[in-house]
Symmetry: D5
Subunit: 147 residues, 10 copies
């Protein structure tokens, strides 16, 4: 058994039972973004969170233990994603990467925006010309230090 098997069991149950990620998140008591990442094998649960997820998807005690093991992260099968939705995000990094770098450095100096002390919020923004996906990313700025 491994984490991947648990992820696949979760996804199979989700489709069979028609479960929504937002509902899972409510029961786990975290945001839908973090909870979905947990269920897809990218995050690590506390025993309580694992139990909540296990109850929803019918996981055994051992499968719940796997949710508490830090996983080998990475959710894409190829370095350049082929799925159009995910590719658009890669394209943003590709087209705007240098811009993002310039503006963060202009504001903060040398360092990075953390992808660990990080949160994400995805929401629908109604718009008469067609609704928009609104995403807020928030990451702590970590300055390079001299030593």
């Amino acid at each position: 058994m491994n984490r991947l098997a648990v992820t696949e069991k979760i996804i199979t149950a989700k489709v069979a039972k028609g479960i929504q990620w937002a509902d899972v998140a409510r029961k786990v008591g975290q945001s839908k973004e973090w909870t979905t990442a947990l269920c897809l094998g990218q995050m690590t649960a506390t025993p309580e969170q694992a139990k909540a997820v296990g109850k929803i998807f019918g996981l055994t005690a051992e499968e719940q233990k796997w949710l508490q093991v830090v996983p080998y992260k990475g959710s894409l099968p190829t370095a350049v994603p082929t799925d159009p939705l995910i590719y658009r995000w890669y394209e943003i990094v590709n087209v705007y990467g240098a811009t993002i770098k310039e503006l963060i450095h202009e504001e903060f100096g040398d360092g990075i925006m953390s992808a660990i002390d990080f949160s994400m919020d995805i929401a629908r923004q109604p718009d008469p010309k067609g609704d928009r996906v609104n995403v807020v990313l928030s990451g702590k700025f970590l300055p390079y230090k001299t030593y």
Copy 2:
């Protein structure tokens, strides 16, 4: 002459004169995100915008014309970026890619978040535990159509 040469001239002038992207944006009359992307060779200027940029960085008339030509986009030298700041964004796509896909589809159905009808806003969010980089991405949702 090509667009890359114009980009390099802009960057060289920026360092030599100590110009700020935010100031360039104010004079061009667009956001600092779009304006920086323009100066880095990713966007296309109107004649007025080209003139404004040209004045700041000392570009010739022909160089200003190049700013009005649609460029071959892509601002990274490798498929997986080596620079730590830009890599963190690639890591977000890698770790959260499947999560983003699930949540947008749960809310909107099959389709993508546009990277064309798209805007980005990067701002400092003061925080006593260390300031944060706050980024708002907004892209129109485009549904796949049957036919």
Copy 3:
């Protein structure tokens, strides 16, 4: 269970029963292009479409549910396709890519031809020197916006 397993079941049934994509499309009520892409795991069905496909290929209720889940898209095993028919399309992108870019920009300005709000029609065009494959691609033009 996952979408790939459903796709493989569909293809196996198609060969065993000698089913034609054009017939499937008629029963689904969509074009043969979209319907084939659906059956090959690239598009998302409504419950009615899933039922129609399920009846033709003998899918269970759970398998029909998988047809309604947005799939991870991408139908090629390698970045550069090895199959001669598909390679010829990649070659067109490779040889004519810069040309396509120039001409669309000359006509429309900066932006893209959508691959989402998109349709395709493949037809035989009789020709005494050898019949031709005639393909019509239609994609909405999406202009880059300034902000």
Copy 4:
């Protein structure tokens, strides 16, 4: 001197003088698609065509000779294109590749759609919901032979 140098001279002159590909095509007497591909270093000119192109862009006699030499074709800097417009075409091959293969084989049997005995026509299709890019591809079907 090589073909690439001629291509770059053509592009530089085009930007400086504001030349349109459609105008070049009219003077060369071929379609705008083929003519642009010629100017971008992908096709081979007759002496007359080379002369016409040379006149427009101010090419020397030797540079015109290079237009008559069969070039090493391929207009993209990377196997997977980074430019959003060209990527959308690669995405079409990626998402619809298996579909295209199935439908051409269903209609024609084993073989390919030629990318050599091939033409392309790109046109604007007015649409109240936003104009569309309409592309017609026509390639001779070449059947695999037994021997």
Copy 5:
């Protein structure tokens, strides 16, 4: 079931029964080159050819149907082949590629040698200094057309 499974069954039977490709070809009524390519999953059989192959290798009716489905072609596991015999052919393309291109263009102008309307004949050529492999490749020349 898929074509790969049929190919593997053929190869397993070939080794177990000590069948020769030349004998298979005689019974199929085609060249040994085409017939071997068919059995290795690269070509498409008529019902009669599939029946002949099926009889030799003990294939079921459904397996014979798979021989009549156009396969996804490509017989090598990596872009640069590791097997020494096949690598030597890749080396020929690598070392002589530009030479082949120059000479075919010098004789025929711009175009390609077809790999579809194509035949190959591999034969032993006795030689006192060590026998030679003699290969004749014949492909129709297809000229690029202007339009």
Copy 6:
């Protein structure tokens, strides 16, 4: 100075003066295939051959010496060639690779067809349905030895 510079000088002179490879071969006294490969930087000349080539293309004494130095071979810019003519040869290796391997081993046992003790002859074969490119490859069979 290096061999690449000599190759480029040869090609530039060839285009400027309209020289044919077949004529060069006659003066060098070797086949057009070998001679072209020599001029394109893939083979090594004797002093006499270097002198003959040098006379035709106007090479200096030092440049002629470079023709006598064994070059770093490989005439393609990418592992998978992008040029359609050369790609067709790569496609032959890809589609027929396993077939070629099977048939040579069936006839000769384990070993390879040499790409060193090797010759190639490219010729036009008139055909009312369209002329064909006829290529004869001849390589010594080298058996693997036990020891």
Copy 7:
């Protein structure tokens, strides 16, 4: 002008004058590890540090400004390094990567060891069986957060 040009000027001067990195570090007032990374184009200097470096290597005022610009980081020409010394470090990551991951997670839980709030100390450790390279890496542990 760009940062790479400044790096190359520094290295050229270092070889010509026989400068030691340890001496540069003393004058800059930082560790030899950070100072060398600065001179090799990976870190960002304060105006004082840039002046100190500029004095040692003879840099102009504009070149000193480039030392104060955040660089595009990454000091290796290939994803897998070819230089034996650097490869050994890549090998450590490759062979011990999973071990490092397990042990840090066992001690700290889910998170990473920062490569930004990070320092490195390289020293000679005398040993009668052959001196050893002793390296101390120190990075702040950053825990993944739930949200």
Copy 8:
């Protein structure tokens, strides 16, 4: 059976029973770093070490034999690791690679730091601003020899 199967059995048992690497190391009588690498399939055990590991994880006699076979080393699924913790180590090699090379050569001359005669110690370093991961790497310096 192979080493990978033994590794997977060890990991499955570890999660199910909640075993700590540090405990395993104590029973094996080696450091936790080496012992973890052994259990993850990177090192080779003596019969006694294999027996100790086997007892903890419930391995059969044959599985214990596999621990004594030198494994094919390499613990990462991709050349550039996707897991954020391991990537940070790759980033250190990427950003500091040239620096490490310069400083070791400045101190020791041409040669490498061994990754074979090598040890690693990972420890928690308490810090009021957030605990740090402290890693000591020690490798014998091996000088290149002339001959």
Copy 9:
């Protein structure tokens, strides 16, 4: 069944029974280098050799037949090997490749050292400063021919 399955069976039996390659070689009557390569799926056996190998490892008659089939060669899972022992050989090719090329050409002219008419002998060379691995490679020189 295929050759890989036979190789895995051989390796499994080798570990379970503690068989030495040198002993296998003695019974097969060939060198340990060739015999090991045979057992690892890289060489082709005569019926007698296959029988000898089969007796040692308990192979069935059909498995012995597979040893007599020319295999698809290549014993490494990635283009750049990750295992440290094998990598050192790749490093030798990488660091000394150009040197080897220069010296063989200086001695023999243009051509190659055969990897087919080739033998290898690996032996321990006792040395008070630490034993050495001594490897003798012997390959026939094959000159490029003009034609």
Copy 10:
């Protein structure tokens, strides 16, 4: 100036003056293998060796200093070499890699054959059936240590 420029100057002088590596080695007082690797930018010279090389090839004092700087090693332009002579060595690693690994481990246990404490000797071995290239590789065995 950099080491690559020195290497190119050496090679240019070698061709122009017809210098032999064996003669250079005699004057440097080292083996022809090491000396050639030095001249090709892979090894590091003492001041005396640099002077000797400098005298032969006409290097300036600064260029001689570059020979004394440890270079970034790696002499091949691609991960898989395209040159036939060098490829044969890569093929040996590819085909015999697992064999070499098995036999060295069988004789020595876990560890590697050093590529640093290493020497190579390339010699002609006369043979009536065609002379052979005889290569002796000698590397110290370095055992993995437990700790």
